[in-house]
């Protein structure tokens, strides 16, 4: 139990610079919630006193962001200044993280949708980017054979977009549109062949 709690405490510390600062000034209080030996308490207090804890906290954020950014890079850009606060809030409540790109991206997508649903986060083109990037990733990584209920379709996805999609399809990043379309457009994302194809759904 002792090693388990030592590792849990360190994990909490690198996730929270605020907790590190508290452990520097009030180590006993900051570490009171962990089942530690006196030796482990002293070790953690000494580690927190090190300036290098700051790089630990930074690397924690880099490593948690990497799987999400790898799949949802445009979404992250479009969230702009809101990204940092959304990530921190997401990480604070997510206590079963993994470095599997897919699971982390889906969970962050669910988080953002819920925040949008409760009006905690304003809508915008990031919602189109989220649908698009997640669908592309899922189509590319789905099994070719599909499953019993949906044979051969697992690598074929349809998404509805509410802004002009040309910016999402451009090879080079372009500015996202700001005007909502009068009617949503549908795109088909097709990864059934050797190359990914994206086409207007009405053409499929």
């Amino acid at each position: 139990v002792s090693l388990t709690d030592f590792q849990r405490a360190f994990s909490d510390l690198i996730a929270s610079p605020r907790l590190v600062l508290r452990a520097r000034s009030e180590p006993a209080a900051a570490l009171a919630g962990y089942d530690l030996t006196e030796r482990e308490r002293q070790r953690l207090a000494a580690m927190c006193a090190s300036e290098a804890m700051e790089i630990n906290c930074t690397l924690y954020r880099v490593n948690r962001l990497t799987p999400i950014y790898s799949v949802l890079s445009r979404t992250c850009h479009l969230l702009g200044p809101a990204l940092a606060s959304e990530l921190l809030a997401f990480w604070e409540v997510e206590h079963d993280a993994t470095l599997q790109f897919h699971r982390q991206s889906v969970r962050f997508a669910e988080w953002l949708r819920e925040r949008r649903h409760t009006a905690a986060l304003p809508g915008g083109p990031w919602e189109d980017a989220l649908r698009f990037e997640l669908a592309v990733f899922e189509a590319r990584t789905a099994p070719h054979d599909g499953d019993a209920e949906n044979p051969a379709d697992a690598r074929l996805r349809w998404i509805d977009l509410h802004y002009d999609p040309s910016w999402l399809l451009a090879a080079e990043p372009t500015e996202a549109p700001t005007e909502l379309l009068a009617e949503p457009v549908w795109l088909c994302i097709d990864a059934t062949g050797p190359e990914l194809e994206i086409r207007s759904a009405c053409a499929s």
Partner: protein
Amino acid sequence: MTTTGLGVGVVYNGVLEGFVQNHGTVLDYVSVIPERFWRDLGRDAVPRFCDLRDDVMLLESLGDRYPLVAHGIGLSIASGSTFDLEHLRQLASWHTRYGFRWISEHLSAVRVQTGGSIDHHAGLAIPLPWDEDVLAMLCERVGVVQDILGCQILLENGVVHTPVPDTDMSEVEFLNELCARSGCALLLDLHNLHVNAVNLELDPDAFLDALDCRHVREIHIAGGNRLYGVYLDSHAGASPPEVWRLLAQVLPRCPDIEGVTFEFHESYYPELGVEGVLAELSRARAIWDHRYEVQTCHLPTSSAHSAT
């Protein structure tokens, strides 16, 4: 007695597809990260693991051309809260499928217990206390790992920015003891050693002098860069001169060495380029080819070795 070994290889990443097609003859083997070829749907999922088919096809084409070695990143063998036997059995099944020449993992704890899970990914390797009780736990786990895999496991020395103070032994003593007691081998990452030497002002030569190099079966070389003044194990391109010096120094001391592996992060490939990768492999090969020309009888100076 010395082994012939495989030679010089690379840790495979997505940007190397063209490199392998055009320059594949410079590689003696390819090291792959098995977790990149399957999706782990979580402990509650049935089945828990599913292949990423496109990636598996790529792996099979690599396996047709090269000896494959596995470099795992997901076991977290030093976690106090969890020892993931399902993950281990998945790795074993892949060993059966692809006949890895050897399998390595990290001597690390990255999964921790939280309110929601016994294996929450901490986002960073947690510094290990080089203590007797941790050593005992690891020796027991290595035994299980090797039983399930049916082969020896290689464990890699890591990077630490805030080492655990007041430990029972030093890192190198711990590594010597772990290999001697459990029968595992060592993947000696020279860049990780260099990172620790730079940031913690350690003496890498003293580390290597104390290391029982009979346990070393693979060596990793890599490059890094700085962030806020701290030198990072970021695999950011070419290996620095100090890593080459350490490689030339330690390689002749490793009688059972199987290979020297260059690793870089794919995001740095535009900067490194084909020529950069070729240069790293060529330089590693030159050192590899001449590794036993100047034979030295080098015994570790660590007192821990006397116990073996």
